[in-house]
């Protein structure tokens, strides 16, 4: 167990990794990655019951699936700093012959990744399948998944949401990154999602909200509450209110940095706001 300061220091380093990775190749998705940094750190450092090493079938451990694969920078940073592969490999992000593809994939054999994602809307179905495999195997561990809010515009999600409650997939905690932004603007402007809590509840999910989705302590408390609600006949949805671009002031509260890399000057500004803690890769 780490204390809050240690987790915050970890998160600061993850932010530096994200900025440096996307800057190095002048591409990638920093906004959503920064917004979910605290969530990933809480997940991999505190919440997941993980086994050492990596086994694709993941029997006897909690599993995580990233559906909105474009926030691969935060996923890669946290996976590497949680021991799945060497931190130095972050320098290969989006480069030729790398295991760190633009969007996560199993194809290159990167430990920690169990499913390709990038084409949106597919992760919840996969997470449900993995959850049902756990039940068949008599494995009491949980499946966690993360989805973008804009991603819920993809219809396959609603097939999956309907199915999960009907079939009582209650070993699944699906978290929605509620940052209110997507490529073309705010989710309200592009295609209003309406009240997601009401929608998930109408589909008979158990829904809870984490209002401060960039506060480590709030995330830990909320996710522990979510975990306590598993095994009761309903899938659990966490609406995680985050700020896109969190921790880098000029990237916050806008969709502008969804898929755009900082230039040299902007990188320097962003790094100055996030001083090195665990050592850069």
């Amino acid at each position: 167990m780490s204390n809050t300061q240690q987790l915050q220091d970890f998160t600061t380093q993850v932010r530096r990794d994200i900025l440096r990775m996307v800057h190095a190749v002048n591409s990638g998705h920093p906004g959503g990655s920064l917004g979910c940094a605290e969530f990933f750190v809480a997940l991999y450092q505190e919440l997941l019951d993980r086994k050492p090493g990596f086994d694709m079938n993941g029997i006897g451990e909690d599993l995580f699936f990233l559906s909105n694969g474009h926030i691969s920078p935060v996923f890669y940073s946290v996976l590497s700093r949680s021991g799945y592969f060497p931190v130095a490999e972050l320098a290969t992000f989006r480069k030729l012959n790398s295991r760190l593809q633009g969007h996560p994939t199993t194809h290159e054999g990167l430990p920690g990744i169990r499913m390709a994602s990038g084409s949106l809307g597919q992760g919840m179905s996969v997470a449900i399948g993995a959850a049902q495999a756990k039940k068949l195997n008599g494995d009491n561990h949980l499946i966690y998944s993360l989805h973008g809010d804009g991603e819920l515009q993809e219809g396959q999600n609603w097939e999956a949401i309907m199915y999960a409650s009907a079939k009582k997939v209650d070993n699944l905690i699906a978290t929605v990154d509620l940052n209110g932004q997507q490529i073309d603007g705010s989710t309200d402007d592009v295609l209003n999602l309406g009240n997601l809590k009401v929608k998930f509840e109408a589909f008979d999910w158990d829904v809870l909200e984490i209002k401060e989705g960039n506060n480590i302590e709030a995330i830990l408390a909320g996710m522990k509450e979510a975990k306590s609600r598993t095994g009761k006949g309903k899938p659990v949805c966490v609406l995680l209110h985050t700020v896109m671009g969190n921790g880098v002031d000029f990237m916050m509260h806008t969709h502008a940095w969804h898929g755009k890399a900082p230039n040299d000057e902007q990188l320097a500004t962003g790094l100055a706001q996030n001083v090195e803690t665990l050592g850069d890769y």
């Binding site: 597919q122 179905s125 996969v126 495999a133 396959q156």
Partner: protein, 317 residues
Amino acid sequence: MKKYTNTGSKDTRSGFGAGMTELGQKNENVVALCADLIGSLKFDDFKKNHPERFFQIGIAEANMIGIAAGLTIGGKIPFTGTFANFSTGRVYDQIRQSVAYSDKNVKICASHAGLTLGEDGATHQILEDIGLMKMLPGMTVINTCDYNQTKAATLAIADHHGPVYLRFGRPVVPNFMPSDEPFVIGKAILLNEGTDVTIVATGHLVWEALIAAEALEAKGISAEVINIHTIKPLDEAAILKSVAKTGCVVTAEEHNILGGLGESVARTLALNNPSPQEFVAVNDSFGESGTPEQLMEKYKLNNQAIVEAVEKVLKRK
């Protein structure tokens, strides 16, 4: 050469159902998923015998493919079942990302392929599925010809690690492959030896090719007939060996002329032994309503069409 005769007509999808019943008993990791078509896919026995391993997904094929991919994580071997159209075109990106690119051990089993679905018409008669599936890296593509071969293929793909597309059909057709004929993925089966022309057929057209070979024999033409159940990986050696002897080939399939078996054979020949080829296939069109027999006649996918194609290709030798 052994003589293949119709031992009693059956539908290929019942061969799939029989294979699933046997797999359910033999392999506890096999699970089945269906999108509201249990009866059509002949899943009834599997569902009854193994309710905990049967997943009724509802009319949500995209979700079905994703759930199948997820089930492999945990060691399950999922067999999805729906019509060929909804098994491929409707869910192409789900198969591409969550199954093929993710290297997942999912068996996509598709009934009611091609024109012989019949009266439902073109919305349901996919003629592009072989092409769609064979273009996916790592995907094995199998199109079986009768009840026995479909059952054998169903059992064989459970032991093969990797994504598979298994295509079969709706109508009752002659059952002529011996029930003890080994099914080896990627290995063609020589049904009839000949010296003048090679007929490479898949699916329902294999029986038609055997009938055509008899008719050709009466005309003094010696036709070699090869049953290609696996379109990818294609048994190129068997095809090249035969064409080296006969010097020309006719391909026959219940599929669009674009993207199917014929193109795979043409590519093989172009690279190794350019030879005259004629195609028995649908000429880049959609289907329509009608009985299977009427449709196969109208779209020239029967033994007469194969005979005509042979006569044409012989003139080009």
